[in-house]
Symmetry: D3
Subunit: 296 residues, 6 copies
């Protein structure tokens, strides 16, 4: 083929690809003035959260006890600005198609309020993450110190994203929380739905392949290994054959449960306090407190 | 050791490391004028494909129904230019060592032809991906809308790369398709060989750890969960003890099959229409249509 | 909420987040003049190692037999400079809190010495990686040639990081080796502890989800598939309930062992020469040489 | 000095430097939500204007007659978005200190209106710039073709910025036009105030050191050489000793005037049609049409 | 104006701006496969030339006597690659409109030959620049050492670009040499036409505003100060009123001439050996050897 | 020429270009561990100085009265870190060739001390620059407000660099001050030697082509226009024919002097208080206080 014929190929392909009627759900029409959800800006949001929550470990910053206030002040302020934009983007993106104009100014104000509320919850998020760091350090003989855990262990990255995303979801932010947890999923192989509820002193070893579903409830002092699935067994369909939303369908893990690698726990069952699930198991029924299941 | 002695260490190490006779297969000698395969340029190719296939979702573009043609026009044109270069790079890179000069100009023309053919197939790729988006949305109660699926779900990213790579492979492009699917593998943990054949309405939930081998044949409306392997059980060796290429050695999944998390299906077996494979299973023999296998 | 009230929210959150007493282990205080461990610089280190070890494949360089010495010379020199900084950063970062000043100049000299020693070991690292490339190519019928293996296969990326990190760890570098292997973990889903000992002609197919623990000993000609765990079964605690460090607790795999996907091998057990472990198995006891375990 | 004492130096300097009372005019307090004037975004604006006005010369774009519409469509759309932001930033930045809230939403709407009006004037700007290109080409024996003039000659860059800035100033945009002409001043050494009025077929040879004041009026077919000043001789002060604004104080150059290098023409004088001013002259009185002034 | 009407404004402006008939010389139509002249790539070319010509001063490289060969080897190789592309771009860009296809492959080969010839002239360029550095250092009491001259003095940057561009022009490269000297013009305010002929031990103090025309001939040991113009007084027009190309119209400065700041020397006159021209003078007639002109 | 012969051209050119004996002063040999002077880092230094001195105008920062302390704290800390490195680089770069090792650690400590001293002088620098801003605003009828002056006027950029560089020079820093003023020279066309002494309320209108020599002494309330040279007339040579350093050779301008565009004032003469020098003049003798010189 003569490369100079490409212009014709191009214009025809562009015509087909630009046919709006044909695209339907695959095309998101932008409304003038709306900010856009941006994976790149949200990576900055994550980086700023990590810098603020673990000063001196993230952010490549040379902080000490006297200068840490400057650094955190600037980072929180930048975090707030980026969050305002992205929360507004999430609100706009999820707006039903026919909605009229004024919603936009409302979204801006609403986003600013949510971002401020989130900022005020950051100290609480740090307190919980401190317990996760402690549990991770105490749970791994190979861990040299807490610094190594914070800098190197994927679980801390995944939990930071999850705890931030969970807080935003609770504050009513659409779409953005899920993008945040997917960023961690891509980075660590750990897939935690932002709607899951997870207690303190939680840890995951190695982590690749872990899945924690949207309606999971996980207690305190729980430990998972790589490849563990806390999933749904099946889900009821509505009259149209579509899955019904918001039905509890993932497991409850009570305090002090341990689940070994590649175990699969499915459905709204309860794994009782202190139970241990062996690796590569397939569990679809309640497990008694203190039980120890292993592969035969 | 005195750091000022480093120059000697350096020159000796460089001498050893530059010894061509010693390197053999580890050294790719470049021929003047050949373009190079570039992971970074191919990331741009992926980004452009996503922007063109899902306008308004990828590409950070503020498109609406009247401006979408401009945007797609520019993106397709840039995609074509980058593809020409990378396809040519693939052709050059895979050229046998002793090949003589004229091949180069031929490769350039051949690459331009392939790139144009690929562009003309983009509308078809979008039509198939639309079915994958639909299957993903309908298959997950946690999915809020198609927009969330397109923006957040790893499976859509992995399938976009796969469907693009598969098309390029069918057009005779060496090396590049595999780099494209490995980019998705690194991003999502989903490893689909570009030579695999996959029908429409395909989806994978969560996805980390999924492996789909080169000679797999997957029907329509198939769903996999995380950690599923569709692999080879063993492979015959030739007289030199090297594995024989191009022998069908991966499973066939017929329409409407579901495979749960961490199941391993190996060898050229057939999983019949509508069968369900439970999690953590090890399957090496044919499965009857409609069968339901679970871990005992 | 009025967005103009945010300044008050900000200052209060900053006050809380800057409270050093409250942060303890989550805050790394920087000492004037110390370099910082940097994931980004270490990504450069990895890129330079790959460029030096596999010239023409990595580094986007147009080398041929007459120019390869220039390129390797420059890259090794840059690698050395970046390593000096990062090794020093690792030494400083891991220094006990109360240590006094002079250590710093010592760390600089020590880091330069280690970096030079590392450079002199690069040819040896390449010789071992050449066997891994060979094993990977011979073990996969889908592999077209060694070039494809080097460019596309995650195992080569993961092993390059591991073999570099292992060498640095043996030279006494703290923290940095673990960051290097975690970079590969994030990129490939393969998690190899830098302290593990691994022979030549080693390969991993696909790789996502593989875990190789710190005290593993792996012989020559060993092959793993995706999702394989070589982990610890349990670990003894000291009087304070903390896990005791440095106890051998991961498996020994002798020469020519093959482990199929998602198998879990736990504890200081020995898998004998030439044994084969089937997929999805849970193995916690010694396996005899030549044995073939499969899921029932 | 002991470097560890720096923290004290730092905190004291920061205290002094943050004292708002002390800073007055040197500190611009930001109001939540206002966009900021950005030299970097305005460089993008300039780049987009150049790409749209001279397609194929700027913007590194591979346009031809069939694809130029896509490219211009995308570039104009991006230009509009960036202009909206920067015009709003200019309006906000120039708002008197005590102004109350609602102005902000008004500024946003006003900025969008101005940006749209500017876009509709782009074809006219191009028509004028085409005459400047022609005059430049015809006026320089060293010019090979119009392409060289557009790509290489500083005057075209300076005039593009000026004509864009002048249009924005006429549309009521504060601050931004001056930043745009200063970008060209820094790039080319040609300093044209955006308020100056300049006819068609205007050109400047070489250009470094040229100054064209705010109230200049320049006819058609005028040519200046490097180092020419069209300035103010003096300006009346008000009762407070401050210069009075908006008084015509710069020269009028009628059609077909030529001014040679380093000539200085000061005050509200008129240089008559077709006059020639020799180099290095100091002119402060009217010059008759057709006159030829030279240094004695 | 309602911002939502912008789409209509946009489409109309795009239609007008895309009208090819209307654009004529302002639109450069790209031919598939041609590389594009790129200011950014040429900035890299300049940076590489500086790094190669003044090792250790430019290129941020940590070279010493044993490693300098690696660094120069790599930089020359990269310089060659970028030059091949840009020379080809210059040849393509300047090709008459109706030229047919085969020219393209020829351009590629021709560009490679020119780039190689240029590389072989680099040592000669360095020898001449060494004399310019010496003249600059000896001519300025404020100069601390040659290092300061090389790193800080604009004249060295301008002369490096000029001597590189002059060599390329002599080798028959269109367009690119002029872009190179304009890069220096923008950076330093010194405007030297690449066709000018300049001897060794040449220097310019400060330099802003200096103009050296295309047909200038400058001897050895010449020194100019800022603001000096060596220009054309007038130029004959052809029958169409267009200036006639290639006529000598700029001054000849013999050896050891000094010209002080802001002097203007116009026309094909000769300033004799050892003459001194005072500042702010306007010179349009021959100056005798050894003469000293000053402003009265 | 066959492009495949290039390797030979390359190796020969590299050999010639790497010949250390041949390069002498053009080659700066690097000593292991020394930081390098970096124009890019110094651009950051300038940007940080501007952000700290004019908060809200530079640094793209959204500061208000309550957050300004965070921002200035972080910026001063970053400024200090970068200055330490660059001051040390300046000290190392200017070290005589044969100097032995220990100097390096001394340079580090010395650099830290100088950087801290500089930081403590920043408030004083701001107080002086505030008078320059005021003089600029009051001296130009076209200036809308001080904000426009700070954001747009080249003189403020040039004076900021000069006042910073002058302070560093006084603190004993070699090389770096000159690079800083050359950055401003390139950006604004205003060339002020860092050793010049300049009083408060100083301003330059437009500025391109202004030169202020190293031994100039300028009083308070002085105003220059574009193209003004304050230079040396001639300078005595030593026995070797080299110019003698450190001799006062540039003009003294007393308080309230005004110099119009393109005037050239040369030699150690005194322009008396309140004198006015007209444009395009050549002045080499003392000017009486209150005198008004104009071109005849």
């Amino acid at each position: 083929m003569n490369p100079f014929d490409f212009t014709q190929v191009l214009t025809q392909a562009v015509d087909e690809l630009s046919d709006c009627a044909d695209m339907k759900d695959l095309f998101h029409q932008h409304r003038q003035g709306d900010p856009l959800p941006s994976g790149r800006v949200l990576e900055d949001v994550v980086a700023l959260c990590r810098a603020v929550l673990f000063p001196g470990y993230y952010g490549h910053s040379t902080v000490n006890s006297r200068t840490v206030e400057y650094r955190i002040g600037v980072d929180v302020e930048r975090l707030y600005t980026k969050l305002c934009e992205q929360i507004e983007a999430g609100l706009c993106f999820s707006r039903p198609a026919g909605t009229d104009e004024p919603a936009c100014a409302e979204n801006r104000a609403k986003a600013a309020g949510i971002a401020a509320a989130f900022v005020s919850r950051l100290p609480g998020i740090r307190r919980t993450l401190a317990t996760d760091v402690e549990a991770t350090f105490l749970g791994d003989p190979a861990a040299v110190n807490c610094g190594e855990v914070i800098l190197c262990y994927p679980v801390i990255k995944a939990l930071t994203n999850y705890r931030v995303a969970h807080e935003l979801l609770q504050l009513g932010v659409p779409l953005i929380p899920r993008i945040l947890t997917e960023l961690a999923h891509s980075e660590t192989g750990i897939d935690i739905h932002p709607a899951a509820q997870i207690g303190h002193h939680f840890t995951i070893d190695h982590g690749t392949g872990v899945v924690i579903g949207a309606t999971c409830i996980i207690g305190n002092y729980v430990k998972l290994y790589q490849g563990v699935t806390l999933g749904a067994k099946s889900f009821p369909l509505d009259a149209d054959g579509h899955p019904i939303k918001h039905i509890p369908r993932h497991p409850i893990l009570e305090d002090n449960v341990i689940v070994y690698s590649n175990a699969t726990i499915l459905g709204r069952i309860t794994v009782g306090r202190g139970a241990t699930i062996g690796g590569n198991l397939w569990v679809t029924e309640d497990v008694a407190p203190g039980a120890r299941l292993v592969q035969r």
